[in-house]
Symmetry: D2
Subunit: 348 residues, 4 copies
């Protein structure tokens, strides 16, 4: 139980830095042992920032597996690379922390699940809301029956900035429903305690033209209506770029009452210096800020699972369901009709 877990970061972008920060500054029993990144500048930048020796920085997972010693990987590369990297890491016997969305389609999800199963390695999905103190407490209270049988759940994620090109094209990422709303897909299923049965989606493209976005089927606003297997209703909304901050909230109504999870206020500092304007209070500006604590906790959980051989609280099954929701909802807006999950699930 005293051993240190050595971790290789695969991908060195924004969320990789968040995980590196957790590993280096907040988790005594982990060590950042290696870094894989194809873009040289990003590689050296992140390497420097977190004190990773130059000879522990690699341009491919293959080389890292060859030359470095580690027990686990944290994969944060673009979605379309997840399957190949995760399967390779599993085959090499590495435990896997995999960022959302899990993969591009259900076949890929199944391949990842099978590979980790065959290699007997752990797989944790990057659903940090499962480790946020508010979401965690809320889920327990709902499960304990405090608001009764859930009837309707609404989850929103609005993000400030325009995603990179690969993250808005359906082919490479499944677009915003996957890149931004994966967390909502996971949360509504988790909190409702039921699988999606059918979904209907409306999308809009407001800011694309001004941002010179010519990606086919691009949308920056989405509203999904969900019917769950248990008869409950759900709604997911996504807006990106929304500009005004990072906004992630859930509202759920059960037979006995309502629960709101999360808020926009980013800090309990309220100021008024102009009575015509009114009170001003910080908003969460970014996702690392909103889920600062959750990001540390999810990585601590992963490291602890690796050390103790425990199964992570959130894994391949949850990742796969989120992908299934995204696929059904995407087909819905492409075909202007409600789509049943079984249409997507039977396809794989």
């Amino acid at each position: 139980m005293e051993q240190t877990v050595r971790v290789c970061l695969v991908g060195a972008g924004r969320v990789a830095k968040v995980h590196a920060n957790s590993l280096v500054n907040y988790i005594p029993c982990a060590r950042l042992a290696a870094l894989v990144e194809v873009v040289p500048q990003v590689r050296s930048e992140t390497g420097e920032a977190f004190g990773i020796a130059e000879d522990a920085r690699f341009d491919s997972l293959e080389t890292a597996l060859d030359r470095a010693q580690f027990e686990a990987v944290v994969i944060t590369t673009p979605t379309f690379t997840h399957k190949e990297l995760a399967v390779r890491a599993a085959e090499a016997g590495k435990h896997i922390f995999l960022e959302k969305p899990m993969a591009l389609n259900l076949q890929e999800c199944d391949q990842i699940i099978a590979a980790t199963h065959d290699a007997n390695v752990l797989l944790q999905l990057g659903f940090m809301r499962r480790f946020d103190p508010e979401f965690t407490v809320a889920a327990s209270r709902i499960a304990a029956g405090e608001i009764g049988r859930p009837m309707m759940v609404k989850s929103l994620t609005h993000g400030p900035g325009l995603p990179p090109p690969w993250a808005r094209a359906l082919e490479t990422s499944n677009g915003m429903l996957a890149e931004v709303n994966s967390h909502d897909w996971d949360c509504v299923r988790w909190l409702m305690g039921s699988d999606y049965q059918r979904v209907y989606t409306e999308v809009a493209n407001f800011k694309g033209p001004a941002n010179q976005v010519d990606t086919p089927n691009f949308y920056d606003n989405v509203l999904v209506d969900i019917r769950f297997e248990n008869g409950g209703l759900g709604s997911i909304s996504g807006i990106c770029p929304c500009g005004y901050g990072y906004d992630a909230r859930v509202e759920i109504v059960g037979e006995l009452g309502i629960m709101q999870i999360g808020e926009m206020q980013g800090q309990a500092v309220v100021v008024c210096t102009n009575r015509e304007q009114g009170l001003v209070t910080p908003i969460y500006r970014t996702w690392p800020e909103r889920f600062a604590w959750g990001y540390i906790q999810e990585m601590q959980h992963f490291v602890e699972c690796v050390r103790l051989g425990k199964r992570p609280k959130v894994g391949g099954e949850e990742g796969r369901w989120a992908v299934a929701g995204v696929l059904a909802a995407t087909r819905s807006f492409l075909e202007s009709r409600p789509v049943y999950l079984h249409e997507v699930l039977s396809l794989k």
Copy 2:
């Protein structure tokens, strides 16, 4: 400009009492001159409560028109009676305040509009949110461009108690989408500044069985996805009975930012006497409580319009659009498909 407006209440139920209270206790230049109600007990109860003389209480509008002097009627009877009463009042030259929903269908709406037009009398719809200080200020700020071009609007109304039988049957009322959510239909269109183009609806029935409700097609939860003519998206949610209070809130995101209108907190009195339970603050329990000020203001507006011959801020056109939304959304859940407004509008 000094004359007093004499009003005849047609209907003496819950919302009638709210209006009677405004007229009797808060509007110096109005006088409650007559009361029409078919149920004797309700008639005498409301009559006594507001000091209406016995010889000014009637069992039909016809009798009241015959025997009493008044310039205006406030119609609060069940939806299926609106058309006949409103048309009759118009023919008799009375100005009309008509509760929502305006009528059962668009033909009835058109008949009411035509009758008031022909008789040159005023028609105000009971959309009190248009007179609530928060909704009013919010609408002005949106119209002034503060949050930019609206992209997505969400409006919810959750009410505490089970509606009476006529108010949950599609035949007599169009159900909850009309009885509870009429205000949302009006608000999303008002705040978005655009008409609905198509709608998709999911419904659920959670509490019906326990409440011995056997109304066909009964639902107590509803979620509507809306696409507006201007490309914007919208959502309306309704839950009734929700039990936990009266909840009416709007959230709207524009190209420049977000605006939230309304809150659940009913009073700025916060108490904690148990640290395991936490802070406790009142919730709005009922709609008369939530919109106490709006109810007074809408009636003051009506009386002022009658005195000055001004056109009310909200009238037949707004009432008719809300009915159109209800009809399209109802067809949507009956047929499990998105329904275009033109399907409903071309039917009339």
Copy 3:
């Protein structure tokens, strides 16, 4: 019970207009019958604004008593005139609504109380917080024991603008402790359920110099420590001009818990259009805005008391105690020591 109460406004300034608005626009059974104001321009302005006929506008209470018919007066003139006007009105048999502070000293308070007693007329003090829904509910809940025996109460009033010269000089008004904080003096005693035993005061003058205020002993910040007869503690804070809005809040801790009454947020409309700035929500800008409902309710109560011959909920005794607190607290800062109430009470 049907008769209309005719009211003569004595004083036509800011708070007079608030009361005139209540009487004219919200209280059917009252009539604004006369107006007394010494400054011709203010007299005609307020007269026009509320439709008071020219021959019902007077330059002295004496003339009004001679020429107009009314049952009640609403006195809103500067503090140093209260005693003379109230005593005269009482002698003429008029019921009296008297703005706070009641008078300059306890002798004057006693003369007013005696005069109303001798003439058998009603006396209501302008403590509108006693009619604010939040303060009213809070007081009931405290009295019912919800937070246990009160141990500590804090009340603050911060007002936006610089008071007129007479309202900052100790000689003509007793300064800010009286003009701004009279409500706090009344509230802490009301909510604590005990009389003040001794007080200690610190004052500061921050903005006087920049505002060319050369009033002797002028202060614009004040903090009072109070010990109550029941052993409880209290604090009153005043800041005027504070610039940022009108701020009136109370926090009270009892043996079983805490209660907060009031908040700064003036409207439940929250906006964010700039993530670096954060969420923006209106603050109460002025006292008529914060206590809009309380001002209407207190005047309705007065009119109802006159009509029914009921004793007002808040009268001379409450006004006198607030004056006593002001006098003790003023002496405290002048003499830099705690002052017992009995020092002031025995002086009269």
Copy 4:
């Protein structure tokens, strides 16, 4: 820069466990190397909880200095032991993290400061609010002039439970003003940017009798009025036991506006399941919960200062001023008069 800082905990009570948790679970470059505690059961309990080997647990600092290797001590023992332990640790060349209050009187403070100076070791005081994100940001914004020159600051700390006997006796701890309100003393001075000039204190004892507390001069409620050297005013309130939670908030008004720091709400999870009761949201129950992040950050700062030889952000000077405030305020209530700081400062 890579070296690990070995820490010896001196004292193993509640706050010691909070620091141990930071050191063991959140600070990779620190190591919990030794534990000193006189009470055997507490020693073994805390030792077990944080994996401190039995041979690294000691019953005196002297023994620990003899037998264990470490660079720093974290002193959390009762106040009356601080001077002796801190001076001894300094003499042994150990860097010192010292819990508040710094010491019993100014002479002791001076001896600690001199010892750390002579030994050239670092001294950090346990004022974790200086590391709380909200207090830190607020202080920067005030210093940057956002609310203008501060005029009035109010700080409160209300704690849930009855302190142990030594922490309520003036002789061993200076009572609640020191044990509970030390943070307030530090914060008001920090945020106001000025030293206290004179103070006036009222105390009350509400719950002592029911709790069989017969400590002389015991109080469980305290309100201090402060005048600062810069002319500003301040207020500190303390209640312990308050029962309802852990409450630590500051409100500060400057010439340009108001700022509120902190809130009672402990988590953004709002629930309503009973409309008569209303909305319920968690309150902070304990100080480790309220300042969870601040406790980690202050210890990270200390460890970093030791590693880099930097001077801590908060040290002996700040600790000494807080003690001075406590002494003056205590004399004030004992003598029922305002007390100038120079009376206390000249005494030492």
